[in-house]
Symmetry: C2
Subunit: 225 residues, 2 copies
C-alpha cells in the first residue's frame, strides 16, 4: 500500500520503518525536508537526528507534507496531537475523497507540566476533531494506547495484548485492521464508531501513571474476557 507517515519523531520513524519492512511504499512527510534532513545531532532525549536516521533507512522517502500524501491511500497521523490538524491540512488530507487517516495521536496538553492533561476529552476526541476538519477523509483511531515499539511489534511482550479500532467507515477499519495484523496484533477490538475514540484517548492518563509506577513503557492493556 502507498502510505504517508506524517511526523518525524520516534513514533513516525518506528511505524515507517516497520511498514517499509512489511513491503509497503512509505514516505515520511515533514514541513521542510531539507531542514529536517539537515538534523544530524541527537536530540535532547538521545534519539539520533532525523538526517542520521534517514541515511540508515534509505528505503523510506522523505518529502514535504503535500508531496508525501499526494498518492497515499493511507495517511498515518504520527504528529503531536496539538499539531495534528495543521499538519494534516498541509498534507492536503481533504484533497482526495476517501483517503484513510490512521490517527494514532493523543490530545496531550503539556502546558501545565507533567503529567499532561487532555485538551479534548469525554464529550469529543482528537479523532473526531480530525474527522470534522477533513470530512471527506475516513478517520480510524487506533494504536494510541501503547508505545511506538509495541505498536509496530507487539511480539516484544511475553503474551498477547489488545489494541482497539474506532471509526465511522467499516471498510477503512478493515484496511487498518489488516495493517495491525501485519504488525502482529492478534487481539483487535472494534469499539464502534469514531466517538468511541473518547474512550481510548482517555486511557492516556492511566497509561502515563503506569509508566511512572512500572518504570517502563514496555507494557500494554489486555482485555481479559
Amino acid at each position: 500500500m502507498n502510505i504517508a507517515v506524517i511526523g518525524t519523531g520516534m513514533v513516525g520513524r518506528t511505524l515507517a520503518a516497520r511498514l517499509a519492512q512489511l513491503g509497503h511504499d512509505v514516505t515520511i512527510g515533514t514541513r521542510d525536508p531539507e531542514v529536517t534532513l539537515a538534523r544530524t545531532e541527537p536530540d535532547a532525549m538521545g534519539a539520533p537526528g532525523f538526517g542520521t536516521w534517514a541515511a540508515e533507512n534509505p528505503g523510506i522517502r522523505v518529502a514535504a507534507f503535500g508531496d508525501a500524501a499526494r498518492g497515499a491511500e493511507l495517511i498515518v497521523n504520527a504528529t503531536n496531537g496539538s499539531a495534528s490538524i495543521e499538519a494534516l491540512r498541509l498534507a492536503g488530507a481533504s484533497d482526495r475523497a476517501g483517503t484513510i487517516i490512521l490517527d494514532i495521536a493523543n490530545p496531550l496538553d503539556f502546558s501545565a507540566g507533567m503529567p499532561p492533561t487532555l485538551f479534548v476529552k469525554d464529550t469529543s476526541s482528537l479523532g473526531e476533531q480530525i474527522q470534522d476538519a477533513f470530512p471527506t477523509a475516513r478517520v480510524v483511531k487506533s494504536l494510541n494506547t501503547l508505545n511506538a515499539d509495541l505498536m509496530a511489534d507487539p511480539g516484544r511482550l511475553p503474551e498477547s495484548s489488545t489494541v482497539f479500532v474506532s471509526g465511522d467507515d467499516a471498510e477503512a477499519k478493515q484496511v487498518v485492521t489488516g495493517l495491525l495484523e501485519q504488525f502482529g496484533h492478534a487481539d483487535i477490538i472494534d469499539l464502534g464508531d469514531l466517538s468511541t475514540a473518547r474512550g481510548t484517548e482517555m486511557l492516556l492518563p492511566v497509561w502515563l501513571r503506569l509508566w511512572g509506577a512500572l518504570g517502563t513503557a514496555e507494557f500494554n492493556f489486555k482485555i481479559v474476557r
Copy 2:
C-alpha cells in the same frame, strides 16, 4: 475487620456478601434501614428488592449510615459517585481520624444520557474530592475499573487480570491490598498517590464502550509487561 459498606445497590451487596464470607464483620449502611428493608419487589433491572436480599444474607447487619460506620475500621464507598460525599457525611466519615475509606465509586454523569460522561476528571478525581471533604480519613481508590462480580471474585475470568490502588497513606493502601488479595486479586499495581485515581477513573469511558462492543461486563484490564 469491622467494615461498613455504604450503598445498597448490586455493588454494595456483592462486596458485603464477599467480605462476610471471608469472615469480616460487615454492616451495610443506608439512609433509613426500615424503608430500605421494606423493599421486597425486584427493581427495574430485575435485581431482588433489598429486603429480600437481606433476608437471604442474615449474617450482614443493616443500619443507618452513622450506626454502620461508627465502629468501622474501613468504610467501603459503594454509592453512586454523585451521592458519595453526602452519604459519607451522613456516615460521619470524619468522626474518627484515620478511618480508611475504600472508594470504589466513579464520577459518572448520566444527565446527558448514555454513555455517561465524568463530572470530574483529568485535573481532579472523585477520590480526591472525597479526601478533601474528609481530611482526617485515609482514602484509597481501587476496584472502580471492573464490575462487582469480578471485584469480589476475579477468578471468574479465565486468567489473571489487574487491579490498581491509589492513595496518599501507605498503611491504608496495605490494608486495602490485603483485602484485594483475600478476594483473589493476584496482580495489584500501586499507582502512587491519590491523584493517580484520575487515571483509573478515566478508564470508565473505554470500559463502557468495551461493555457495548463485547456485550458483557465480564471482562477486565490486564497490564501485560
